[in-house]
């Protein structure tokens, strides 16, 4: 199936991109520097080490997701390499889906590399193996897939700079969406309230994947929340891909 071919080709493209390696490298460096920061605290040093390491991996993976995503479709259109693909029996839908899976594979490789180093570091300082950290990386991966889908969406019709601004904005908004519910009740007009309520469901709610707190402090988590988070991610990604396909089907290439 040509989606597989497209996906692997996309992965190859990212894997041969210097920017990608640079970001993975820095991610690892920062994750390792968490050991240094943990020296400065009193009390639970392993907690600080985990916090810093996870934050570093989180940050750099998000950067990778955004940077590889926003260029993806745009570059194909700019360089006109897309002509070679769409002139073959490849539907526009397949093109987008293939690109997405290629990116998903890229993110997986990046995340595994950084996570692997992190686990080794934690083991070396005596933190032991924590299944919850694995769960965190899984949730992070879901979040990254959403970000990748968002950047792919913008890349299909917008320039890299605008795509970057929109994607970063949605990422930041996605992490403060949980305040919308609280602020909603502070608004005076019921119309604004309804509007805010609608926004709450349309815009991505990303903080649910941020289980760093629960993981590092070993707090209990309910299976219900995890399950619904996973379902939300899958459905939201599909929705994003659908919109991207809808836009892309109408796209003309001058």
């Amino acid at each position: 199936m040509n989606i597989k071919g497209l996906a692997f080709n996309t992965f190859k493209e990212s894997a041969r991109n210097k920017m990608f390696y640079l970001l993975v490298f820095f991610g690892i460096i920062f994750a390792l520097s968490s050991k240094l920061i943990s020296f400065l605290t009193l009390g639970d040093t392993i907690k600080v080490l985990k916090d810093t390491g996870l934050a570093a991996i989180n940050f750099f993976c998000v950067l990778i997701a955004i940077f590889t995503g926003i260029n993806l479709v745009y570059k194909e259109i700019e360089k006109k390499t897309i002509f070679n693909i769409l002139s073959k029996p490849v539907t526009r839908d397949h093109f987008i889906i293939g690109k997405f899976f290629g990116l998903a594979l890229t993110m997986l490789v990046a995340l595994i590399a950084m996570a692997g180093i992190f686990f080794i570091l934690v083991l070396l300082v005596g933190g032991g193996f924590d299944f919850k950290i694995l769960l965190y990386f899984f949730m992070l991966y879901l979040e990254l897939l959403i970000i990748v889908a968002i950047s792919l969406l913008f890349s299909s019709f917008s320039t890299p700079i605008l795509s970057f601004i929109f994607t970063v904005s949605l990422y930041l908004i996605g992490h403060i969406m949980w305040t919308f519910n609280e602020f909603k009740s502070l608004l005076r007009s019921p119309l604004l309230e309804k509007f805010t309520h609608m926004l709450y469901y349309i815009l991505p709610n990303l903080d649910k994947f941020n289980i760093k707190n629960e993981v590092v402090l070993d707090l209990p988590m309910r299976t219900g929340t995890i399950l619904f988070s996973i379902l939300y991610a899958l459905v939201y990604i599909m929705a994003l891909l659908t919109v991207t396909i809808m836009i892309f089907r109408k796209r003309e290439f001058l």
Binding site: N9, T81, S87, F253, L254
Partner: protein, 304 residues
């Protein structure tokens, strides 16, 4: 059933937020029979590339229909039968030639073993032997063009759509491409291509379509067009004065120490030759000159 049939193709663009519409294609009719080589000719901006992009589904026509072997040209079924080479092709520069061809093959779901054989054959056919493992960013324009041809042929298509296939090739390259295309025609394939290089076109095409300002100005078999275009004769002479020559026939130019007289009417030849000899001039040559494709083309341009 015609291999390629375009009926009343219209395409216009709106410039961003302006109300103004730009009509690029104003009703194109093209038909290409199976096994024909069709040359698509026109000045810059006439709409050649636009037409080709409409065929390939990269642009959506406003009106009209494009069929390849009876199926809509932009459909998946049609694209299986078409090999496409875009103008100024660009490929993933992080791949090698071989990798790119394997990738193209995968898009047709060609099994790997079959693909490998086919790719080896194609590399030889387009003259890229020895370069198949070189990264594409190191390719010259000519090499890229050849690779483009190879990827267009990856699935052994029945129809080829080529946009300026000769651009970037040196004379040897152009000859090789000409031979390749003629060879493909010999295999029964249909080839539709656009070009500026009229001499090459003249040597290869069966049918010609001239597009000017978004309309087909003239379409037909090349042989008919050339036959129907008036031939003229040239008489080369010397040892005669201009004054004398003007009296015989004023249509002449001087070149070195010779005069070249242009005669539209075949019947006038004998009279002019006799007159020159009568004036003690020297008749060096009497040459029939056929109008070339260029002449036909320039004439069409002038008439618009």
């Amino acid at each position: 059933m015609k291999t390629l049939e375009i009926t009343n193709l219209k395409k216009s663009f709106r410039s961003n937020f302006l109300i103004k519409k730009y009509h690029i294609l104003k009703g194109i009719d093209i038909s290409v029979e199976q096994g024909e080589i069709y040359g698509f000719l026109g000045p810059n901006g006439a709409g050649k590339t636009t037409t080709i992009k409409c065929i390939m589904g990269l642009l959506f026509p406003n009106e009209g229909e494009i069929l390849v072997n009876g199926q809509p040209s932009a459909s998946i079924a049609a694209r299986r039968q078409i090999g496409f080479l875009p103008e100024n092709p660009y490929f993933y520069d992080y791949l090698s030639a071989s990798e790119l061809l394997h990738f193209s093959a995968s898009l047709f779901a060609i099994p790997a073993t079959v693909a490998r054989e086919r790719i080896d054959l194609l590399i030889k056919q387009v003259g890229l032997e020895g370069h198949e493992h070189l990264k594409l960013r190191k390719f010259s324009k000519g090499m890229t063009q050849r690779l483009g041809m190879a990827q267009a042929l990856i699935q052994d298509p029945v129809c080829l759509i080529l946009d300026e296939p000769f651009s970037g090739l040196d004379p040897i390259g152009r000859k090789e491409f000409r031979d390749l295309i003629l060879n493909l025609k010999g295999q029964g394939k249909t080839i539709f291509f656009s070009s500026h290089i009229l001499q090459d076109m003249e040597m290869m095409v069966d049918k010609v379509g001239i597009i000017i300002n978004g309309r087909i100005s003239r379409q037909g078999q090349l042989s008919e067009m050339i036959a129907s275009s008036t031939q003229y004769h040239e008489i080369v002479c010397s040892r005669i004065s201009e004054k004398q020559l003007t009296k015989i026939n004023p249509n002449f130019v001087s070149h070195d120490n010779q005069f070249i007289i242009t005669l539209d009417n075949e019947a006038d030849i004998n009279l002019v030759v006799e007159s020159i000899i009568h004036n003690n001039g020297l008749v060096i040559a009497v040459n029939p000159v056929k109008k070339t494709l260029e002449d036909i083309f320039l004439k069409e341009l002038r008439e618009v």
